[in-house]
Symmetry: C2
Subunit: 240 residues, 2 copies
């Protein structure tokens, strides 16, 4: 759209011609750093380094770090499947499973999305589609509002727990072993029993058929279907 009209071939196109900085490139680099090194590693200086530019140059393309974070959030939301299937329940279920997948691909994203104030265009579009799906299915405005709150509470709440789960993560055996000595069967009998069950059932483990991504899938689906059942019942009650 705002492509410069005259772009000379430029004789010095040998060597490491770094492409011009754009908002797009800044956001993509930021997302890559967060995925690879975690959100804490993402500083404006680190971001500049990844783009072979001084940190101050970034401010020509984004207003500040908050705008970077908002942009990252919207990119992630854009990866989520929109609820478009004609059957409302299938549409909501597919969207919830897709959101879960996307949030596991970007483990830093769930917390960030929930903490951002101003939604970007992707998020607005996504929510518009979600509300539309419910209204078309005959949900009243009030029930649509409640269904939306309940569903997203579950989706983000579950995924946030999952992403920060300290158990059974091979990367953090220190955390598990640091906790265990404090958790004795006399003090916390139920907790110890539960931990035994979880470990013996091979749950929440990378030792799953689908690997780590599928570790909590059955648990996620349980609560998801529970919520969908509840919404179906509320919808039925509403229509007498």
């Amino acid at each position: 759209m705002s492509n410069g009209p005259k772009r000379k071939p430029s004789k010095q196109s040998r060597g490491k011609r770094r492409p011009p900085l754009t908002r797009e490139r800044v956001l993509h680099a930021a997302l890559a750093i967060a995925d690879d090194e975690g959100l804490d590693a993402l500083s404006m200086r680190r971001l500049g380094q990844a783009l072979r530019v001084e940190a101050m140059s970034l401010y020509n393309h984004v207003a500040n770090k908050d705008e970077v974070l908002d942009g990252m959030v919207d990119m992630v939301v854009g990866e989520m499947e929109m609820p478009l299937l004609p059957d409302w329940r299938a549409a909501l279920r597919g969207r919830a499973l897709s959101a879960h997948e996307v949030l596991l691909r970007h483990p830093w994203a769930a917390a960030l999305i929930e903490s951002r104030l101003s939604p970007g265009p992707e998020r607005l579009r996504h929510h518009d589609a979600l509300i539309g799906a419910l209204l078309r299915a005959g949900f009243s405005l009030e029930l649509t509002y409640r269904a939306f709150l309940t569903l997203d509470s579950y989706i983000y709440g579950f995924t946030l727990q999952e992403v920060n789960w300290p158990f059974d993560r091979d990367e953090r055996p220190d955390v598990v072993t640091n906790i265990e000595p404090h958790v004795t069967a006399e003090q916390y009998p139920n907790l110890v029993q539960m931990m035994g069950f979880i470990l013996s059932a091979g749950r929440g483990d990378a030792a799953q058929p689908g690997g780590k991504a599928a570790a909590y899938l059955a648990e996620y689906a349980f609560g998801l279907d529970l919520v969908l059942d509840g919404l179906a019942a509320a919808r039925a009650r509403e229509r007498q």
Copy 2:
């Protein structure tokens, strides 16, 4: 317990005798700062200032800032009502309502709790009681596990949304007015319709009987009862 045995009356007890620094005092001061000024305002230097001490002195009582955050989280969890009622459903419902109240009193806490890796003693006790309540009610280990995940996903997910909600907060009219121009009825028809409903119904507003604290209570209770209904049904299915 570790009270020094000999504590002389000390002749210079006039003026501003600041009490000795302890882990307890550090954590209480940290919690007060987070409540009053937000979690971002809580730095080790600011914390030292509140306690009339240099920041470096804090390290004699806590290992590092992470330990401060862990301590704050555990204090907040300690405020939540434990699920002790004999009726499992009443116990879980009361606990969920109490957790919601506590998390609204400390708006920074929900995000922090979910991001902490090592649970403190209060949290361990709380979860032990929760699991115990479900097991005593005849839930299997597997269903207890799933009930726990579903409930806490909902509780924290909902509260996290509520605490960061940009709409209808008198403190942040800027955010609302900044968003509105971008959200046109042509682009986001369903969203606009929903926003109209929410505002006209006086929902999510401080203009509620119970004030801000009660603004989303009906919505929170809707999803909570939906989850509890689902768990009751799952329990009934399990026992044939």
